[in-house]
């Protein structure tokens, strides 16, 4: 348990310490800033489409740092050393997912405030967005670590990594954006179900991918 906590803090320190994981948040805000310029100054249109844009930006922001999540640890021999100590690959993957979820999820939720304002989302829609993203963040982190583990051996893997998990993320987008639709009553439960499924599968799938890196 001590080992897992040490591992978690190490991942979080590397995420925030280097400043590298702030990049997704900057990217997220960049999209929110650029979108109104592209759509034009029509506030009702912006309010209708902005929520979906937040979801797309959040998904891409989660996938942005995937070449930093597993590859450096693999190349530095950290993963081998952890395996020698008998830590299971699934546990390591779960810790990495948790650290990524906190590392990018917390700043993302904070960045949601200015983003919602830029995209003309009223208070009620902003709360809906925040609760939806909070539900989806563990699943997004799961997908990011999974694709990072799958592509850690490939050159230029991060581009392929995004493509790999995009189909899996589609349900999150549909139900997440669906929560904003006043007629979409069941969207929250469906989003929670889809997120739960991905969060549970994530450590096992990513753990198997980590094991594959050693062969």
């Amino acid at each position: 348990m001590t080992a897992l906590i040490a591992l978690f803090w190490r991942d979080l320190r590397r995420a925030w310490g280097s400043g590298a994981l702030w990049l997704p948040v900057v990217f997220f805000l960049l999209v929110a800033t650029a979108f109104p310029f592209a759509v034009g100054p029509d506030a009702p249109l912006l309010a209708r489409t902005g929520g979906g844009m937040v979801w797309v930006a959040a998904l891409l922001a989660a996938l942005l740092p995937i070449d930093r999540l597993v590859r450096p640890d693999h190349e530095a021999g950290m993963l081998d050393q952890l395996a020698v100590r008998g830590l299971s690959d699934e546990l390591i993957a779960a810790v990495k997912i948790a650290a990524h979820a906190i590392g990018f999820g917390l700043p993302l939720l904070i960045a949601l405030l200015p983003a919602a304002a830029l995209l003309a989302q009223d208070a009620q829609r902003a709360v809906t967005l925040a609760s939806g993203l909070a539900l989806a963040i563990p699943a997004l982190a799961s997908l990011a670590v999974l694709s990072a583990a799958l592509t850690a051996n490939l050159k230029g893997g991060s581009a392929i990594g995004g493509l790999l998990v995009l189909p899996l993320a589609v349900p999150l987008l549909i139900f997440g954006a669906g929560m904003l639709d006043p007629s979409g009553r069941g969207a929250t439960k469906l989003l929670a179900a889809a997120a739960l499924l991905l969060t549970v599968i994530g450590p096992f799938a990513a753990g198997a991918a980590l094991r594959g890196l050693r062969e």
């Binding site: 190490r10 021999g77 950290m78 081998d80 050393q81 952890l82 020698v84 050693r214």
Partner: protein, 195 residues
């Protein structure tokens, strides 16, 4: 035979499509040291990784009775951290206290480098740091793959002294190296000529 810390029974190793070795058996008891020698590509590193559990044998069994500590070509220390903090991370993973790290740092004469970021260390210094990680871990089985690469004579002497102390405490050593390093009472395993 009850004292065997590590036992490999008729193992075979295949990398890619190539059979590196087969029918290889070895046991390592407390205080023993075994030197794997052979040309490049003979499978020394693969055998070390088999013993560490990082590779699975294509045939045969690998049995470990105790914890292992491994050195391979990667130091596995975070480059941006000061050396001491990078070693402390592994001490927390291995649940050993700061004194063990202090002793390991002293054994490899790393105290003057404790505050230097790992990324700034030279090749030989990084090998010494990796060796300090192994010493601090307190693991009874040491699996060392070319531990003296890049080390100067003084550092290599400290490595030999650390190995002697480890064996005196009942630890075992599996060493893959081109040189015997001047370790006394060393059993040899010649992995022979290979393609």
């Amino acid at each position: 035979m009850s004292a065997a810390l590590l036992r490999l029974e008729r193992v075979a190793c295949i990398r890619g499509d190539r059979l590196l070795f087969e029918g290889l058996s070895l046991t390592l008891a407390r205080g023993e040291a075994l030197w794997l020698r052979g040309p490049n590509g003979a499978g020394k590193s693969s055998l070390i990784r088999l013993a560490a559990g990082l590779l699975h044998p294509a045939a045969g069994t690998v049995e470990r009775r105790e914890r292992c500590a491994l050195i391979d070509e990667a130091a596995a220390l975070d480059g941006e951290l000061a050396l001491r903090r990078a070693l402390d991370f592994w001490a927390r993973i291995d649940t050993v206290d700061g004194d063990a790290v202090d002793r390991a740092v002293a054994a490899m004469a790393l105290a003057p480098l404790a505050e230097v970021p790992v990324a700034m260390l030279s090749t030989g210094q990084r090998k010494r740091a990796a060796m300090a990680r192994v010493i601090a871990s307190g693991a009874p089985i040491w699996l060392l793959d070319e531990p003296a690469n890049g080390m100067d004579a003084a550092a290599a002497a400290r490595l030999v002294a650390a190995i002697a102390q480890h064996r005196a405490r009942g630890g075992a050593l599996l060493l893959a190296s081109h040189f015997a390093l001047g370790i006394p009472d060393l059993t040899e395993l010649d992995m022979g000529a290979s393609a």
